[in-house]
Structures are given as structure tokens and as C-alpha cells.
Symmetry: C2
């Protein structure tokens, strides 16, 4: 694809159907191709790579089209700092949770998260929606009478720190700013899918060891 190709060829190379490509173009996820003639445009290798990223965000990352657009805009911005980009990538994967901030149980759970992170000495953005997601999970564990499972809170934090420290170090090691941007976005989204899947598989292993009668 040294020179541009038509949409049919873009579809063939990317594995994304023509109607879906047209949808991404309309929604502003995919930049337009170079206009050639009426109703014709040429696409390049950049479009193939962008389509791969869009599918990763939407299929594996379960991002909405709106969230994917937000992340892709941040990836394309020239002047975004790595910290701000991380915020955008995190915002995209966060679960939208309709918690009532004035509810006493919500406030208590939020206090519990703050105490945990203070104890660990973590430096986090106090306005991060990840704090809301953690607090809401804790509130609901308690509301459903599952307090004993929260004895694992420190273990969850330990596992999270283990993964996150290595993730950030791997992205920073790239040095090239464009590659760091890619790494933040892709690592945040795909890393979550990978960690979640491995946790389920590790649960199977632990269950099989603890619960299956030895054969």
C-alpha cells in the first residue's frame, strides 16, 4: 500500500466490512481518505492500522463508539502529556456507575478506598473515576452481606500494583513519544481484558484443586 487504495481493498486488507468502515468514517473514528473523484477516496497503510486499533478498542476493550472516539482523539493529539493521556485511556475503560455521592454507604466506601491508598502511599488523582468504581464495588460487597470477601482488599491492591508497575515501566522504556502513546492506550485496554481472563482461569485452577475430589 505504497500508494492509496479504494475502500474495497481497505476492507479486504483490514478484515473490516465496507459498511462498518463507512460507519467509522461517519462517526469520525477513521480519518477520511484522500479525495480522488466524486464518491471515491484513497486509503493508506495508516487507515489499515487505525482500523486494527478501532476493533481492538471496541471488540476486546468493549468500548462504546463514543469512548473509542475520545481515546483516538487523544492518540492523535500532538500536545497531550503521557499523564493526561493515561487519564483519557482510563476514563474510557471505567465502568459508568450511577452512585449517589451523598449516600452514607457510598461515602463510607469512598473513605475505605482512600484509607487503603493512603496506607499504601499511592499518589492518585483525587478526581479519578477509578476511585468511584473501586468505592462502588466495595459498597455493593457490603450491601450484599459479603464483607468477608473484602478481607482480600489488600491482595487485590498488591496484585494491581504488581501489574501496573510493570505496565508503566514497559511503556516508559519505549522512549519514542508516539510509541508511548500507543502503549498507554492499547496496554490499558487490552491489559485489562488479559488480566481479567487470566484471573478467571486461575479461579478454575484453584477451584479444581480445592473442590474436585481427587481421582
Amino acid at each position: 500500500m505504497g500508494v492509496g487504495v479504494r475502500i474495497a481493498e481497505l476492507s479486504r486488507r483490514s478484515g473490516v466490512s465496507i459498511p462498518t468502515i463507512k460507519f467509522y468514517l461517519r462517526e469520525g473514528l477513521l480519518p477520511p481518505g484522500a479525495a480522488m473523484a466524486a464518491n471515491q477516496a484513497d486509503y493508506t497503510e495508516t487507515h489499515v492500522r487505525r482500523l486494527g486499533l478501532i476493533r481492538a478498542l471496541i471488540d476486546v476493550g468493549r468500548l462504546s463508539v463514543a469512548k473509542a472516539r475520545e481515546v483516538l482523539a487523544a492518540v492523535s493529539a500532538d500536545d497531550i502529556s503521557p499523564i493526561d493521556l493515561l487519564g483519557t485511556a482510563q476514563h474510557a475503560v471505567i465502568r459508568a456507575i450511577p452512585a449517589d455521592p451523598d449516600d452514607p454507604a457510598t461515602r463510607a466506601a469512598r473513605g475505605e478506598v482512600t484509607a487503603l491508598l493512603d496506607g499504601l502511599g499511592w499518589q492518585v488523582d483525587p478526581g479519578s473515576p477509578a476511585l468511584d468504581q473501586a468505592a462502588e464495588a466495595i459498597r455493593v460487597f457490603r450491601a450484599l452481606g459479603q464483607d468477608d470477601l473484602l478481607s482480600l482488599l489488600g491482595t487485590y491492591a498488591e496484585a494491581a500494583a504488581l501489574v501496573a508497575g510493570r505496565e508503566v515501566a514497559a511503556v516508559v522504556a519505549r522512549q519514542d513519544p508516539d510509541r508511548m502513546v500507543e502503549g498507554v492506550v492499547i496496554g490499558t485496554v487490552l491489559g485489562e481484558a488479559l488480566l481479567d481472563a487470566l484471573r478467571l482461569l486461575a479461579q478454575q485452577d484453584a477451584s479444581n484443586r480445592l473442590l474436585r475430589p481427587p481421582s
Copy 2:
């Protein structure tokens, strides 16, 4: 709520609106109340607790109504084994990923997951959709040219095993079968939301340490 109450009172106590309660009744997520007169039914404490669980699955766990119904049916089944219940709970949180099993890159990624788990000696269900989710994440990391981030594969597995071992042990420690069932379902769904949120917060901490200029 020693005796049953009307739907308005059920709404007040659960914090779930009457139209939403009626929707859950129609969709079979909430069992019907005891019929009292034409168009009237009585609800009990069991309904309040069930509504809390439904909201946890849908709001925090991001489950679809269909997946929540599947999980709730398993919770209500008398004769389900803990291993089968774990399978149902895991199936509910898995990301539906339209991977082509005959694609060489998909097969290679699947082989990579199998080699990883064999190396760790994990006993997992070879038909588990969690294997597909892990393989698809790996395939897309590679397809997007992010191979270096897969040097963390072992770290992801280590963190997953740390969490899952404690999760399963905590649920098994309950001994009461009904409480174990609750723990599997709630722990699988809420634990994922909690771990994911803490990973994002740990990323912020690591980024702040590595990237922010010291003040």
C-alpha cells in the same frame, strides 16, 4: 418486612424504581410476589435482597439482562455444583469476542495461552471462554505491534493467581452451600470491577512516580 408489602414499598426499600421492578419481573430476573388481589402482589425481604443482587450484576458488573438472568437461574438452582456455578458466573463476565478460530494468528495466540498455563501447571477447562478472551487479547497485542508489552504475560498470570487463590479460599471457607453460591457469583463479578479499578489507580501511582517532574 415480616409480612409482604406492595410494590411501592418494595421500590422505597430497595431504591429501585417501580417501572424498573416491573421490567425485572417481566424479564424473569425477579420472582413474582404472592398474588393478593387483581393486579396486586406482596413482596418480601427476599425480593429486596434479590433486587440488590440484580443491580450489582447489571450496574457494577456491566452484565446484560440476559447474562444476569443466566446467573440468577444458577443461583436459584438447588443441584448445581460449585464448579458448574463458577463456570456460569465466569461465562457471564466474559467478553464476547468474535475471533475466527481458523485464523493462523488466533491459533498461534491460543497456543501461547496453552503453553503459558501448561508451564504454570494450571488445571483449567479446555472449553472455557476465558481461554478465548486471553488468546484474543494476545493476538491483538501482536497484531497492533505491541509485542514488547507481552513480556508482562507472566506478571499478569502471577497477579491473577495471587488474587484467584485467595478468592476461592475465601468462598470455600464459608462452608454453607447457599453462602458459597452467593460468594462465587458476587465475588466473580464485583471482584473484577474492584481489581480493574485498583489497577488503574496503581497505574496512576506508577506514572506519577516515573513521569512527573519532582516538585
